[in-house]
Homo-oligomer: 166 residues x 2
C-alpha cells in the first residue's frame, strides 16, 4: 500500500478488518475493509482443493498470503521509485516461501522455514540506485516489517455474548 | 491449508512460489503456485485506489494478507474440529490488524501495531472444548505461526543475469 505523501500526516495508523464466514465444506467468505485512514471494502474467499476436502472454489489462504507479500513489496518499489528518482522500465518479483509441517497426535503443527524474494528491475539508473530503492521499499513494506518481528496475536472466543481472552 | 492426515507423511514441507509482474499504474499480476507437497496454481492481482495512484482494479496487498490470515485460522479450526470431535454448527471469525506509518525523509516506514482475532463458534460441545480447538488451530495455522516469530527474508536483485544478495 502506498499513501499520498503530499496529503498524509507525519504519522498515522492503517487498519484492516476482516469478517469471515464458513460456508460449504472448506470455503471461507471474507469481507475485508480498510477502516483507517479511510474506508475501502473488498470481498474475497478462500477454499481448499479436493485433496483437502474442499471444492477448490477459491485460492487457499497461503496463496493469498504469498500474493499479498509479493504485491506489497512491488507496490512499495514502484511508489518509492518516483520519490528516489529511479526509473523503472520493468519490474518483476519472484517469491518463494517454505513451511515445515509435522504430525502432532491427532492434529499437526507448522512453522515457517524460509522466505526468499528475487527482484528483477529493468532501469537506466545505476545498479546501486536500484538496490537502494529495494532497501527503502523493504522498510516501507507493511508485510516485510511485520514478518521481520515477533508478533503477538490476541485471541478471544465468544461465550454467551461476552468475549473471553484465551 | 489442511492436509489429509491419512495420506501425509510424519513430516513434510509446504512451498508456495509467486511470480509478480508490474502492469498499469500500480497493478501487480500474480501467479501463485503451490509446488510442495503437490502442485496447484492460482492467478490473482493487487492494485491501489485512486488515492494511491492506482486504478482500483484489484484489492490492495494488505487486504490479501488479512484475508489470508483469517481464512488460514478458519480452515484450521474446521479441519481440526473433525479430529478433536467438536461439532461446528456455525463459525465466524473477525480480525483486526493495525499498522503504524510515519514519514522518513522522502519515503516512509511502517511497523505492525496490533493483531486481534475474535472467534465465534456455535457448537453443542462444552465451551472448554471449543477453546481447546481454537488453541490447536493456532498451532496448525501456518500464518499464525509465521507471525509469532521473527523471520528473515533473503533478498536478491538481478544484475547482468546474476542474482546478488542485498
Amino acid at each position: 500500500m502506498s499513501m499520498s505523501m503530499d496529503t498524509a500526516p507525519e504519522k498515522t495508523q492503517v487498519q484492516f478488518n476482516c469478517a469471515g464466514t464458513a460456508v460449504g465444506k472448506m470455503r471461507n467468505e471474507l469481507v475485508v475493509e480498510m477502516v483507517k485512514p479511510f474506508h475501502e471494502s473488498f470481498e474475497m474467499a478462500t477454499d481448499e482443493g479436493a485433496f483437502h476436502g474442499g471444492d477448490a472454489s477459491a485460492p487457499p489462504p497461503l496463496a493469498l498470503f504469498v500474493g499479498g507479500l509479493t504485491g506489497c513489496l512491488m507496490t512499495q518499489i514502484r511508489a518509492f521509485a518516483k520519490r528516489l528518482g529511479v526509473t523503472l522500465d520493468d519490474l518483476k518479483v519472484e517469491t518463494r516461501v517454505i513451511w515445515d509441517w509435522q504430525k502432532a497426535g491427532r492434529v499437526y503443527e507448522t512453522a515457517p522455514h524460509s522466505f526468499e524474494i528475487d527482484v528483477l528491475i529493468d532501469s537506466p539508473n545505476a545498479f546501486e540506485d536500484t538496490v537502494a530503492l529495494v532497501k527503502a521499499a523493504q522498510k516501507g513494506c507493511f508485510l516485510e516489517q511485520t514478518l521481520g518481528q515477533q508478533n503477538t496475536i490476541r485471541h478471544r472466543v465468544l461465550r454467551d455474548g461476552t468475549y473471553v481472552d484465551i
